[in-house]
Symmetry: C2
Subunit: 769 residues, 2 copies
Amino acid sequence: MSEGASSPESQRQFSHLFPTEAIASTPPTGQCPVEQCPIEKTFVDQCPVENTFTDSCPAVPSTSTNKTSQSTYKSNAGVDFVIIFKFPTNQPDVTREQLEAKTTKALESLTTKLSKVGLRFQIRPGKERGVLLVLVGCPSNLLYQALKRERIRDFLLGVRVDDIEEDGKSRSINMSDVTDSERLRLVYDLITSPETEGGASISPDLDECVDSIMPLHDENFDKQWIKSWSKKWMLDQDDINKIRDQFGEKIAYYFAFLQNYFVWLSVPSVLGAFVYMTHTNTLTIGFSVFMLVWAVVYLEMWKRKEKELAVMWGVRNCSKYEKRRAEYGGDGTIKDEVTGEELPFVAPWKTIVRRILAIPGVALGAVFLSSIVGFVFFLQLFLHEYYAGPFAQILHYAPTIGYVLFIPTMTNIYNKWVKILNDWEMHKTDASWESNYTKKIFIANFLVGYLSLFITGWVYIPFGDHVLPYLSHYNISHDHKKVDFLRLRDQLVYFVVTGQVVGFATEMIVPYIMQKAMPKAQELKEKVTKGNTESSFPEDQLGTPEMSGPEAAFMKRVYKQVGLEEYNIYTDYVEMVIQFGYVSMFSTVWPLTALCCMINNWVELRSDALKICKYTRRPIPLRAEGAGPWIGNMETLVWLSSITMASFAYLFHPSTNIHSPYTPILTLLAIMVSEHLYVLLRILIQTAIEIIPSWSDVVVKKEDYKLKKVWLDRLASTSQSSVKQDANSSWNYEESHDELTKHVWSDRTSQDAQNQEGIRLVEAVFKTK
Amino acid sequence: MSEGASSPESQRQFSHLFPTEAIASTPPTGQCPVEQCPIEKTFVDQCPVENTFTDSCPAVPSTSTNKTSQSTYKSNAGVDFVIIFKFPTNQPDVTREQLEAKTTKALESLTTKLSKVGLRFQIRPGKERGVLLVLVGCPSNLLYQALKRERIRDFLLGVRVDDIEEDGKSRSINMSDVTDSERLRLVYDLITSPETEGGASISPDLDECVDSIMPLHDENFDKQWIKSWSKKWMLDQDDINKIRDQFGEKIAYYFAFLQNYFVWLSVPSVLGAFVYMTHTNTLTIGFSVFMLVWAVVYLEMWKRKEKELAVMWGVRNCSKYEKRRAEYGGDGTIKDEVTGEELPFVAPWKTIVRRILAIPGVALGAVFLSSIVGFVFFLQLFLHEYYAGPFAQILHYAPTIGYVLFIPTMTNIYNKWVKILNDWEMHKTDASWESNYTKKIFIANFLVGYLSLFITGWVYIPFGDHVLPYLSHYNISHDHKKVDFLRLRDQLVYFVVTGQVVGFATEMIVPYIMQKAMPKAQELKEKVTKGNTESSFPEDQLGTPEMSGPEAAFMKRVYKQVGLEEYNIYTDYVEMVIQFGYVSMFSTVWPLTALCCMINNWVELRSDALKICKYTRRPIPLRAEGAGPWIGNMETLVWLSSITMASFAYLFHPSTNIHSPYTPILTLLAIMVSEHLYVLLRILIQTAIEIIPSWSDVVVKKEDYKLKKVWLDRLASTSQSSVKQDANSSWNYEESHDELTKHVWSDRTSQDAQNQEGIRLVEAVFKTK
């Protein structure tokens, strides 16, 4: 696939490097390689037999896999991806002929690219005007080539270490071992990779009429998934492995994270419930420190779990492979020193300047969002606490509506704004883009989720009573007496309980209603506006060949899935991370927070599964080595926990006079102590956890050792020849060399003589005395 | 060398994996491989041609190398290492015969081990009674085997990526390309590695009478080195590369660090001198922030430089190879799951408990040392400032003598104590042991170096005036008036100037005098005590064969070097790190600090070179990937800089009333702000530096790409065969599969037909309207 021609000699030299050596042009035994080396997933053997610490041995992921590996492919009639081709049917200042010519050209360019790579396609009309669907399928030999190429890349990057069997044989590729997610990922790579890397270089960002590229759901799998999860109380590793085989590691990591977090929440849930029942002042130093330790330990253990999953799923080091973003245009091109390609180039100082300039941009968005959140908060405060005028009953609910409808809209505006900024920052790789984008949207969700709590705890409660005289002064009637700590608790309960119920509703119930109601509304609308001038599109008018029974049903499924939203993993992660913030930062304010979140997450796990199956398109399977940038955000939250808990523990302690002028400065000191405690705790816990061995280390070491042993065995067998070869070398002191060397070595060459000499010297010492 | 037998088939499969493929039993061309693939160091090509940013292209390290590569070997008559075999000649309760038998056994065990591996040796009497010298040489075929083994390990670990030439040929090993340091390192590995890894498993910790293992100096190189450095004002990369070729990467990193630090010091030197001349109050916020930024940037740039050197010297990733410590005994043995060996095993909880218990142990040592330092400080204070009694003139100098003699002794006691603790902590690898030991000795040097400055700045100056009334009360006469900031400056100047002069003296002048004076004193002593009962040892009495001219001279050199101290790299690093602390933490107190340190380091670079050549044994060449744990300690110092500079800037500001009760709390707030500023600055600077490309990244990418290209070319050549192979696969939809798939794909197979269909659909859309 690479364009560079290599000499036959170099090929011979490396001919045995390949895991697929057995299928080379002249296989040594002449047998079919697949029969020769049957696949035996050695995962069970790799697990340490006596695993005395930490986790139990992970379940074997392969048995269920083999059965389902061709499931998607079969149930979708060999269609791997659907490219949605959207073209304008009407544009001002452009004649219809020009538009048609342009569209035809774009379509031809698309199909040419597909054909060039060797992908098959079928073109079908879309459900709407101006939409065509290009069904793309991958022939098996092409897939096989792509798989081989990836395996080699993986071996070189150290992603796969398990390609060598116990007896030193390399493992050949068995196509029936390829999971659905791997197949789809490879095909997606074929469609989207740059041409220099053997792909078709098709992308919604580069090709004018390509709207999106989507895989099709495997309906059988989806049904089984929902069914099995709705019956289980606890998920196990096998459930997560199934998701990995179907949707790829990125989605699987989300579910693994959610499940792991759910289990870890049990600790603060139980302790929180206990503290809630036994203490009146829950803001104790003891409980605060416990929550801090829990949060740090949990995060460190999750990072460890991430690594273990990476080893188990064979994606360790896969993030080392950095794919350039197709959108990375650059100021001009530069000839790459490595590959000789013409690559887009941007001066580093320009990147730095843009990153710096983006900071005020994000700050602007954050200020905008903060003022919205602040306004809604103070409105709510005013209406709840001070306002007793007309329509008080109705106006009471206005802020909640604001939270549910107004703020999410503003957040979306912010998200779009930072996406523009993030694109403008010119990131070279997807990983870099994603990491920076995640940080930016985290800021928004942080403000919406916590700002009003911070205002309540740090501004309103300490200083709120100063406002009362002014209210009286302006003759505003109010029934408010005193601002105290319970106000903060109420605010938190609102977020944890109401917020999660509302979240569930917008995620599950609204889409359900929309899905049921929208098609009917659409139909109605179409009937009214278009009347009878145009009949329903496309079957009747376009003269497509009649679709017979099964194909019609299949296309109906395709149309339905094309009409769905793309799955957005950010939304799901951000929800969990913000929730983690409530638990770690505010558990001392209301100790039942963790319990509430735990219940929510039990439902969340299942409703997210349902959402993926029913309300979104199938996500494109991507590899990942963990939850990625979210963990960094969670670490920020743990650091903030040390600030919030320390400040609350001091501010709201019964003995603290909250209105004393020394209070702010003493609160700051409490925060300072707590921050240092946090840093110290983190170092200690990290060190301690590093000492505990993980089974994944053993697996990795074992694989490394196997590889090394094969090479060393080979070395041992060549030693004779090298000794012979040695005679040519000029490095023997027996032959060349000067007087001195001869003196030192040649006179008494025999090692036995030397031993005698040594003994004689020892004897001499003892006898002379 | 590995004991496991492998099937011939597996050998065949991997036969071409080897860089040394050409010397396999049946070389394809029948030619000598060394002539076939002459070594052409491609370092120059690897350097980016257009290096628009940062550093210039590093100098080519190889030209000078080739000439000196056999230099040590030749000048030392083929002796690579000297094993010093020390045995007791007299022990209570043991008869002389028993002792002799024991010694003979130990010696035989040693020689057997050496012979087994294939190393040559010569036994010579030592200069003292009860000492034998075993001169060890390595035959070239053994070295060749060891080198091959290491190259394979390096390739698998990703240490060497440059073993493939531009045209895809693998590079064979040319023995004349092996540097002195590489040769000695390989031989040292052969002597000390466990037997399972093909070594002789000789170690001073395991073998009873083995006192130490040392290589011999290359006197020609040493002379040239001293000569060339004493003539140069500035060192360049080539000078550092020469050290690397001679003494290995670990020593070379020290000199590279020192040189790099020396250059970076020029920035605060110039600015410091400017501030010193123009400002009366040097403790400004501006200068403090500048110093903080400088320290952070310098450390980040050094970390980058470290990585670049690792790529240049081919030691990238070498720290991944974790050699088990020979001293790691364990509670018992466990059968290793990976290799099947019986390995020492320690339960992780035990390790954690021991690490935790070691903390109070270190704390105890630190408290002990702190009280000594504190005592000397207050004594000095009292004598300098308050005491005006008899002998005041003489007693004035007592504390300085304390600093020079008393405190170093106490530090040595502390160092021994923490070494015991560190051994007790049971570290599995040398890297882990060293990292923890470094932290512990850093604490001692930290206390000695800075504690009295902290006491002066934070205790004595703010609270010292409270002591005066008590002094008067006890009728102690004093001529002291007022405690102020200048007291801190004096203290600092003492450390920076006097401390460094004293350091130079103890490092250079004392050993010089000792070396000149000691042998004569020894002679005199021997003459007096032993009289004529025993003549000079060993030549006359032991009856060793007469040494002729050159050998006698050679043995004299050996005896001289055996009598030297081992080189201790800790002492040199710790001196520099503590000095860095003066610059980063206290530059605002005395802005000339950096300038003084810069002058000192110019001398230090040269005196350290002289020290290695003249006053210590040749260090054992070890690989390293950087300055290691010291950088972590320097980062701690930068964090402390944010504390010291902020507190001094507030405390000693002209407008601050130092005796106000609010001062301590406001100082703490200043510190808090400064610490957060430091964390923020660090994140920003790290991000910015990451964006700037480094030439080493390009080199690494280029090598990776070459490797990948060779593999992909090979893949392309096998595609035909795989298409054939494909027919066997059950994955072709043309053949198998259900009704639906046939419907969707088989009816309109031709891609041209599909293109026509697409165009027809587009036309239909535009025409229907």
